[in-house]
């Protein structure tokens, strides 16, 4: 589809305009993907270049350095200590000593075991002290993998610190030659509450993220390439080992006994996307509708209506979800009412029939989501300049026209990024699905794919079921987790490349 000029575009009929826009949208997808890979390529190239520059600088520093600077290559912090920066120098030196001791007494062992993830599993052995046969435990694959990852991170940190120490030695040497006073340890400490206050502020949050998010995620991604599960827990039963891409092959094989995984994945992914789509947009438009009803001129008790809806946010979600789930059960209140009224003779299969269950969760999600959307939309509606509506009224625009020409475009523009986070958030909306249906009704065809997968299971609830299931196939959970990441990342990238909304955060400030 060729791109029209503005004039040509204006000549089109409404329907053609719509088709044109839609066409351009789909055309922009491959371009967006292309740009993305270009960006990645550029990023890698500039990374390699920067690395080259750093290496060259290290070599130059060595060539041009005096004895002290050269010595810093071996003894970190020497360039600081010898030139009066005691605090920095001691910290560098301490780091080096800790690193060397760690590598000799622990790190070396973990690194050497990492390729095999342990050689000797638990075995029944003769114990001379007890004079009987007992189970002896040896290597611990779990710890090897975990400490292996930590050791690698430590080595990276060491290389970085070493580079910093050399850089400072060079700078100090140059500054001394020019006769400039160097910063003392006192200056450094002072700057921690002033210029470098951000370092102080970020220290705690980033440490937490590193230990409780980054390391676990790296670890779990590696688990996808092992056979770590309930019966290979790495210590008590059996060691686990690297298996390469086997798990991904199992997940994606279309033939043989493993077909059930790919089929289940396809089914669950499809439902996840359908669910995310309906959950996001039904809430969005209905929430907007409700907000506009309450905001309409002449409606009284605005605050009261809002408070009633907001109250449902206040009550912890698990209570409302669990209770509503039971309300729609076969012998629940809803069926009880309908039976009493004589509208039905048989209880409705809200949770027992796949289609019923899927529609019911989407409806109940509307019940949960509308209050949030109502709040957000109310806030935004108040920000729309009132004179826009005034002039529209003078031009004789109907209420519907005002909505489609002013309110909706404004809303979409402002909330574009929010819709995206809502969409990906809904894809991972564990609580609503798990507490309402538990993933059920069970899908018999997918029962081979670890965990009893049901018709309303999302990828996340499937992941949870695999993890907590009888076989605890952690490696499969890890594969599913990586796939969720890939799907979410792809959607985010696509939308961000297409969205017209503001991407530059400085524009908001």
């Amino acid at each position: 589809m060729a791109k029209y000029s503005d004039l040509e575009y204006l000549k089109l009929s409404k329907w053609d305009k719509f088709l044109y826009k839609l066409g351009r949208f789909f055309i922009s997808i491959p371009v967006g993907i292309g740009h993305f890979f270009q960006k990645i390529g550029k990023g890698i190239a500039s990374g390699v270049k920067a690395f080259g520059r750093e290496c060259a600088d290290v070599v130059n520093t060595f060539k041009n350095g005096d004895g002290i600077t050269k010595g810093t290559f071996l003894v970190m912090g020497l360039g600081n200590l010898a030139r009066g920066q005691i605090l920095r120098g001691l910290l560098f030196l301490l780091f080096e000593i800790v690193f060397i001791f760690y590598m000799i007494f622990a790190g070396g062992y973990w690194m050497s075991m990492l390729p095999s993830l342990g050689k000797q599993g638990p075995a029944v052995e003769y114990d001379p002290v007890l004079d009987t046969y007992v189970t002896a435990y040896h290597d611990n694959s779990f710890k090897i993998l975990l400490y292996g990852v930590l050791t690698i991170l430590f080595i990276i940190a060491f290389i970085y610190t070493w580079r910093q120490s050399i850089k400072q030695a060079k700078i100090n040497q140059e500054m001394r030659e020019r006769g400039i006073r160097l910063k003392s340890g006192k200056d450094d400490l002072k700057s921690l509450v002033d210029e470098s206050f951000y370092k102080t502020l970020l220290a705690l949050p980033l440490t937490g993220i590193l230990i409780f998010t980054v390391v676990p995620i790296v670890f779990m991604m590696l688990v996808a390439f092992t056979n770590y599960d309930g019966s290979h827990d790495g210590y008590f039963n059996n060691l686990f080992h690297w298996v390469g891409l086997d798990n991904f092959n199992t997940m994606f094989s279309w033939t043989g006994g493993n077909k059930v995984y790919s089929a289940t994945f396809g089914e669950v992914l499809t439902w996840t996307l359908i669910w995310a789509f309906f959950a996001t947009f039904s809430n969005y438009f209905l929430g907007m509708f409700v907000a506009m009803m309450i905001n309409k001129k002449g409606i009284k008790f605005k605050k009261g209506w809002r408070t009633i809806l907001v109250m449902t946010i206040a009550i912890p979600q698990f209570i409302s979800l669990l209770y509503v789930s039971k309300m729609f059960a076969k012998n629940g209140i809803v069926n009880g009412f309908l039976l009493d009224l004589g509208w039905i003779t048989q209880p409705l299969p809200f949770w027992d029939d796949p289609t019923w269950a899927r529609i019911t969760v989407i409806l109940i999600n509307i019940w949960i989501g509308i209050p949030y959307l109502m709040l957000i939309v109310t806030g935004i509606l108040m920000n729309i300049p009132a004179d826009l509506y005034e002039s529209a009224k003078i031009d004789g625009a109907s209420g519907w026209k005002q909505f489609t020409k002013i309110t909706l475009p404004y809303m979409l523009f402002i909330t574009g990024p929010y819709l995206l986070t809502q969409f990906t958030g809904n894809m991972n909306n564990f609580n609503v699905i798990y507490l309402l249906t538990g993933g059920g009704p069970t899908n018999a065809a997918a029962s081979g794919a670890s965990g009893s997968v049901g018709y309303t299971d999302l990828l996340v609830t499937w992941l949870f079921k695999i993890t907590t299931g009888a076989e605890s196939q952690y490696y499969m959970a890890s594969v599913v987790g990586i796939l969720i990441f890939v799907v979410v990342a792809l959607i985010t990238l696509l939308v961000y490349n297409i969205l017209p909304s503001v991407k530059n955060e400085e524009d908001f400030q």
Binding site: I209, M293, I319, Y323, K326, F464, T467
Partner: protein, 295 residues
């Protein structure tokens, strides 16, 4: 309608037509709103009614109890309920304090400082956020188990899990700090205040709404957490929070004896949280709205 139009008969007519139409549409809206209010409040009314039901303890198809009483509330004392309640309350308090500190540090820094790794850091956290958090619970469980912070001792372990990565949820409060003019900081800096003093003396007093919002959301988090609380407590009642504990009452073999007690427990959990929320509603609304607008 302006006064001038009143002299114009045709405008007069239009005015009348509009108001009649308006009245009808307003009536329709009132009806819709009343129905909505009923639908939205019904489950909560039901749960309160059922918590007073004494004639039976299982699920029934009617709402109004035939025999009223406080049995369910009294019986809660015979179960682990108050233990779960204390657990959750401790976790909520600790999380509210620590998470607020962490989130404010993070968001203020990212809003005010421009340093070398800032953009890279924000992008990195965005990517980290795309991983399902639940993926990490396997390893976190093993690590916490080594530290003896699981099962019956799950409370400190769970607090750690809640707060450790809370820095990643900086978006809403960063949005707030972005709206506080930077000229305030600069003026104070010219007067000789350090960056730390600017934060303590200038920014924090102004940031009351966002501080309250952060405390409120952090406090409400542990009441609803299900995934980690269940996995870290590993079927040990002593370490559960209310969500996990009450959910266990709805399992196949418990529901017939515990259903009405579940309702009573739910009411007791909901009351303080709801009251707190309603009191601080204004700040919550501000935070949610601001967060969505700024993305």
């Amino acid at each position: 309608m302006s006064k001038k139009n009143d002299y114009d008969p045709s405008a007069m007519k239009q005015h009348m037509g509009m108001s009649a139409k308006n009245r009808i549409s307003n009536t329709v809206i009132y009806i819709v709103l009343v129905i909505m209010s009923i639908v939205w409040l019904a489950p909560f009314v039901f749960i309160v009614l059922q918590s007073f039901r004494c004639e039976s303890t299982w699920m029934v198809g009617y709402v109004v109890p035939k025999q009223w009483g406080l049995d369910n509330y009294i019986n809660l004392a015979k179960t682990d309920f108050w233990h779960w309640y204390t657990n959750t309350f401790i976790m909520a308090l600790a999380t509210a304090v620590l998470q607020t500190v962490i989130v404010l540090c993070m968001s203020y820094t990212l809003s005010r400082f421009r340093f070398k790794i800032r953009d890279g850091l924000m992008r990195f956290m965005l990517i980290l956020g795309m991983f399902p958090g639940m993926l990490t619970m396997i390893i976190l469980y093993r690590i916490l188990k080594d530290l003896n912070m699981t099962q019956a001792n799950a409370v400190p372990g769970l607090i750690l899990v809640y707060i450790a990565s809370s820095g990643m949820g900086y978006y809403v409060s960063k949005g707030f700090f972005d709206t506080v003019p930077k000229s305030l900081d600069e003026a104070a800096r010219i007067d000789g205040a350090t960056r730390a003093q600017v934060l303590w003396k200038i920014i924090l007093p102004m940031a009351k709404p966002i501080v309250i919002y952060t405390i409120l959301t952090a406090f409400m988090g542990p009441w609803g957490d299900f995934v980690f609380a269940r996995y870290i407590s590993m079927n040990t009642p002593a370490g559960m929070n209310v969500a996990v504990g009450l959910n266990s009452w709805l399992s196949q073999d418990m529901i017939n004896s515990r259903y009405t007690m579940f309702c009573a427990g739910g009411v007791i959990v909901a009351i303080p949280v709801t009251i707190l929320f309603m009191c601080l509603q204004r700040y919550y609304v501000e935070g949610v709205t601001g967060g969505a607008v700024k993305g």
